[in-house]
């Protein structure tokens, strides 16, 4: 300590005092701005063609609609599958339980990109052995195929989330429902699921945000989503840096927006439990 001269120590103390007056969030924001500024300068110094970016941004941004549509449709399919999957995983019936556990194990044990190609390329080959009225299901265009593959994939992961949610409902609740002469179905629908939802909704939001990014894989089967457009424009003009930066920025913006709502939703869902915890402080 003594190594520091008195004048320097005084200067440091003055700086710390002044620094304390600056809100912490402002400092955080400044660090972010600093990083972004350095990145921007770095890119610009490498002949980053902003004019080219502005010219092509409208076309690339046109893919956001497809990206969002695929994600929303897939998360709805995944939620439905996960609900049945979780009930199956908790069922005493060996058939239901077997189907559900096989589904989870198989889908979680294979890569998403394999599943996407399987639905798009392998299903049509199966169609030849299927009856005529089924052939529409086996022969899917890029976007429906992507929704099916993403929905089934995320459904398997979400099955486990739903199962945990259902199991989080105290056993006393179920016993109480039985005491009120509710049937098993009534208990599930009126007692267990509504309470499980509180536990389940926040992680489902996380899954949605993860899916926003995984949906870029659908570009490999030719769906003109955000990433497909960015990579094609980049390839044909030999400007991958510019177009990939646009794509990355848009994905980041989208996930940030959904994360914002996600945080609010979590706070709202957990509000009945927050006060209890804060008693301890």
């Amino acid at each position: 300590m003594a190594s520091l001269p008195a004048s320097a120590r005084r200067a440091r103390d003055a700086f710390e005092r002044r620094s304390e007056r600056v809100p912490y969030r402002l400092k955080l924001g400044l660090v972010w701005l600093g990083i972004l500024g350095v990145m921007a300068l770095w890119f610009l110094s490498y002949g980053f063609d902003t004019e080219f970016m502005l010219e092509w941004a409208p076309y690339i941004l046109g893919g956001v609609g497809i990206t969002l549509f695929v994600c929303i449709a897939s998360i709805v399919l995944a939620t439905t599958l996960a609900l049945f999957g979780a009930l199956g995983r908790l069922s005493g019936n060996p058939l239901f339980n077997g189907v559900a556990s096989f589904y989870v194990s198989f889908i979680r044990g294979t890569p998403l990109i394999v599943q996407i190609f399987f639905v798009y390329l392998a299903f049509p080959q199966l169609a030849r052995f299927a009856p005529e009225y089924m052939s529409g299901f086996f022969l899917l265009d890029a976007i429906p195929a992507a929704i099916l593959a993403l929905g089934v994939n995320y459904g398997a992961y979400m099955t486990e989330i739903f199962r945990a949610g259902i199991q989080s409902v105290g056993h006393g609740q179920i016993e109480a429902a039985h005491a009120l002469a509710m049937s098993a179905t009534q208990t599930t629908r009126r007692i267990v699921l509504p309470q499980a939802m509180r536990v389940v909704i926040p992680p489902v939001g996380n899954e949605f945000i993860a899916m926003l990014k995984d949906s870029a894989l659908v570009s490999f089967i030719g769906a003109a989503d955000l990433f497909f457009r960015a990579s094609k424009v980049g390839q044909q003009n030999f400007r991958a840096l510019e177009t990939l930066v646009i794509a990355a920025a848009v994905y980041w913006f989208l996930t940030s927006v959904f994360s914002f709502f996600q945080t609010r939703l979590e706070r709202k869902m957990g509000r009945g439990y927050v006060r209890e915890r804060s008693h301890g402080h």
Partner: protein, 298 residues
């Protein structure tokens, strides 16, 4: 109660989106075109199906200027695009585009997702097993490019042995380097031995890797001469080496395994291509996009 309502909302959403989904499917099914048109009595198989639909669905990979690329408004443009549009016009139908990746197109088994490929596809015996080809609509010479800093590679006869060469995966250039390329009616001289082949999703990715520096990731790229020249025009630091290594006849392809008989459509398009050769349409389009006439067999 609130949470129950949430459940209801979710299940409603499922219903709504399921409904949207099926509506969307019908749209993209391609059966909705109302053109109808001049369905003559003799049309059969896929030709009849295309004319009934009033739409010719063409696959294209819009990463290949000047053959095919995307415009700022989201349309496609290029030599292949103009040729396909002209074919559709002469068939009396509209044209629609699909954009699957190149290896998906060359593998056949399109399952009726699109009707034809007008994608500068080289006719090879392997492809001819799964695809029906029309007569060639033009011919491109394949060439080798190296980084402009390179001084050691001066010819394609021996100069490229043991080098790392980038090509598009599933393209004829890959088969050429593996010395398995066979184009009926053409003698091919394999002058490059023991190259280590790097396959890319598309030619421009290989060119972008060559751009990084001489030998950084690649020593050379093999591609169609117009593609390489296009890259040079865009300021890529690469140069052609030696003369063309072989010429490729490029044709329209149709899936042999189509739900309907592809033969009548292949014949009709073949006739249209002969017409476009003799009336100068193809020469005109070649001059427009390549600045030279590539429609005569060298």
């Amino acid at each position: 109660m609130r949470k129950l309502r949430l459940l209801t909302v979710i299940s409603l959403l499922v219903l709504v989106i399921a409904a949207c989904g099926t509506a969307g499917d019908e749209d993209t099914g391609g059966t909705s075109g109302g053109g109808g048109g001049n369905g003559e009595a003799e049309d059969s198989g896929m030709l009849a199906a295309v004319k009934d639909a009033g739409v010719l669905r063409v696959s294209t990979d819009p990463a290949y200027p000047p053959q095919s690329s995307v415009t700022k408004s989201g349309d496609y443009e290029g030599f292949d695009i103009d040729v396909a549009t002209e074919i559709a016009e002469r068939l009396g139908v509209e044209v629609e585009w699909e954009t699957p990746s190149w290896d998906v197109i060359t593998a056949g088994n399109w399952a009726g997702r699109w009707d034809v490929s007008v994608g500068s596809m080289t006719v090879t015996p392997e492809r001819a097993e799964v695809l029906e080809f029309t007569p060639a609509y033009y011919f491109t010479p394949a060439s080798v490019a190296v980084h402009e800093d390179n001084t050691s590679i001066t010819d394609t006869e021996g100069g490229l042995d043991d080098k790392t060469i980038g090509v598009c995966g599933g393209c004829t250039y890959e088969a050429y380097l593996e010395q398995s390329l066979d184009i009926p009616g053409y003698d091919i001289d394999f002058t490059i031995d023991d190259a280590s082949v790097k396959a890319y999703d598309t030619d421009s990715s290989a060119i972008a890797d060559l751009e990084l520096g001489d030998g950084t990731r690649l020593d050379a790229v093999i591609s169609a001469t117009p593609t390489l020249e296009g890259a040079i025009d865009k300021g890529k630091p690469i140069k052609l080496v030696g003369g063309p290594i072989y010429a490729e006849p490029l044709a329209v392809a149709i899936d042999k395994n189509s739900p309907e008989d592809p033969e009548p459509l292949a014949e009709a398009i073949g006739e249209i291509i002969e017409e476009m050769h003799s009336d100068g349409t193809l020469t005109e389009l070649s001059m427009k996009w390549y600045g030279t006439d590539l429609t005569k067999d060298a």
